[in-house]
């Protein structure tokens, strides 16, 4: 093991770290915004609303993220509609394809997580909201969604970690994220242990930071459930 390989290339790793962090953060933020209406649509009894959303989440949860990102990056050029329009300025760029596929992927998982949490709403809360004369949208906003987010938090924390780990496939489509940095270092110096163990350490630090942040958030959001100090 030769630590100088890592210290000489630390700048590359830090750039990769930044790329990983912003890609994952942007995908999660956009994905969450999309997932909320999708989750509400998934709870609809109308098959014309529920069906297409179910097909979407089923496809993106049942196929590997690596295939999804490849389909978008290598496959989008197959379509004249994309090639001949302004869309090509976006789809010809690796970062956009990575972000696009991550958003579609995490929105599908998150929609199902939130849907589960919505369905677990205690019946009494909904009856109480109706008895107070709330409309459906007011009830969603004030009663159903806030308590659903609370219930969804542990599962969503796992999804954040899955997205972080899944983002490593961005390195395959030429993006120099953390994994990409490690692959560059390995191919330049043929030092697989140093190259990949360094990336692994960064990922582990990020994972622990997420676990810690979720735990902090849980403590806040579940404060009302904690036994009162004697």
């Amino acid at each position: 093991m030769d630590p100088s390989v890592v210290t000489q290339n630390i700048g590359l790793y830090l750039q990769g770290l930044w790329t990983t962090v912003w890609l994952v953060a942007a995908a999660l933020a956009i994905g969450l915004v999309l997932a909320i209406p999708l989750a509400i649509a998934r709870t609809s009894r109308n098959p014309l609303i529920n069906g297409p959303v179910f097909a979407y989440t089923y496809f993106f949860r049942g196929t590997p993220l690596f295939i999804q990102i490849s389909m978008i990056y290598y496959g989008s050029g197959q379509f004249e509609v994309i090639r001949q329009s302004w869309l090509w300025t976006l789809f010809s760029q690796a970062w956009f394809c990575a972000l696009f596929s991550f958003v579609l992927n995490t929105a599908a998982y998150t929609a199902e997580i939130i849907r589960g949490a919505i369905l677990a709403t205690p019946r009494g809360e909904i009856e109480a909201a109706r008895a107070c004369g709330m409309s459906r949208s007011l009830m969603l906003r004030r009663i159903v969604l806030p308590s659903a987010f609370r219930r969804a938090l542990p599962a969503y924390g796992n999804e954040v970690i899955f997205m972080l780990h899944g983002s490593a496939v961005a390195s395959v489509i030429t993006i120099v994220d953390l994994t990409g940095a490690a692959r560059v270092v390995n191919s330049r110096f043929y030092t697989p242990y140093e190259a990949f163990l360094t990336a692994a350490a960064f990922y582990m630090a990020l994972t622990f930071a997420i676990v810690w942040a979720v735990r902090l958030l849980e403590r806040r959001w579940y404060a009302h459930l904690r036994p009162r100090p004697a």
Partner: protein
């Protein structure tokens, strides 16, 4: 749109590679999972420590990074060790073996957690009763613990299998000639990359759907003795 231009059988050959790699990895993962779970619950602090480090490290790092580490690192290691054993030529690590071992190693960590939880879900009184009957530890494990923990392990086990199965798509990155690799070849020579990758996506969807149905059946089956009689 789904005109495969004669590449259909070519892709299906690759499907077989992914499926066997997935199933063999599952066997490795189950073995490591049982070992890991027993180590985590053992009274031996060394075993507990090793299992803790194993599951924490593996679950904190992306599977692709571990795969690259084990494939390239393993290649280097084999070629450092081989000359010492009197082997002169350069040894090429086979991506199938490396992939199966890596996936098994990774999902063994997830299985450890699933099995640990399932073991803890079996009431301690059951195990005590077994011991009180004079059963040996192996009998308590085989007759009381295993049949009852299976029911608790199934949901987590199923999730792990689905993630593992999808993880086999990454094996093409370390050079395995699987269906993803073949789809990229077919897509390159026909200039229809989307079509072939979409077919691969549909094949994965079919495999996950069959898995989900089989797991649902297994869960219902394992739950039978516990279901309440219809009123």
């Amino acid at each position: 749109m789904l005109d495969l231009q004669g590449f259909g059988a070519f892709i299906l050959q690759g499907t077989w590679v992914n499926l066997t790699a997935g199933l063999l990895s599952l066997v490795v993962a189950i073995a490591l999972g049982i070992l890991g779970a027993l180590a985590k619950l053992s009274r031996n602090p060394v075993a507990r420590g090793v299992a803790m480090v194993y599951t924490t490290l593996v679950r904190g790092v992306p599977d692709l990074v571990l795969m690259l580490l084990i494939f390239f690192g393993g290649q280097l290691l084999v070629n450092q060790v081989a000359p010492a054993l009197g082997h002169e030529d350069y040894v090429d690590v086979d991506p199938f073996t490396a992939g199966v071992l890596t996936l098994g190693f990774i999902y063994g960590a997830y299985m450890s957690e699933t099995f640990r939880g399932a073991i803890l879900a079996v009431p301690a009184g059951q195990l005590e009763a077994g011991r009180a009957f004079g059963m040996r530890p192996r009998e308590v494990f085989a007759r009381i613990l295993l049949p009852q923990m299976l029911r608790h392990a199934l949901p987590g086990f199923g999730n792990n299998w689905l993630v593992l199965l999808k993880g086999t798509a990454l094996l093409s990155i370390i050079g395995l000639n699987d269906m993803v690799f073949k789809a990229n070849q077919a897509g390159g020579s026909t200039h229809k990359p989307f079509t072939f990758l979409f077919v691969v996506a549909l094949i994965y969807l079919a495999m996950t759907t069959v898995s989900i149905l089989a797991l649902r059946w297994a869960e219902r089956h394992a739950d039978r003795p516990y279901r309440r009689a219809p009123a």
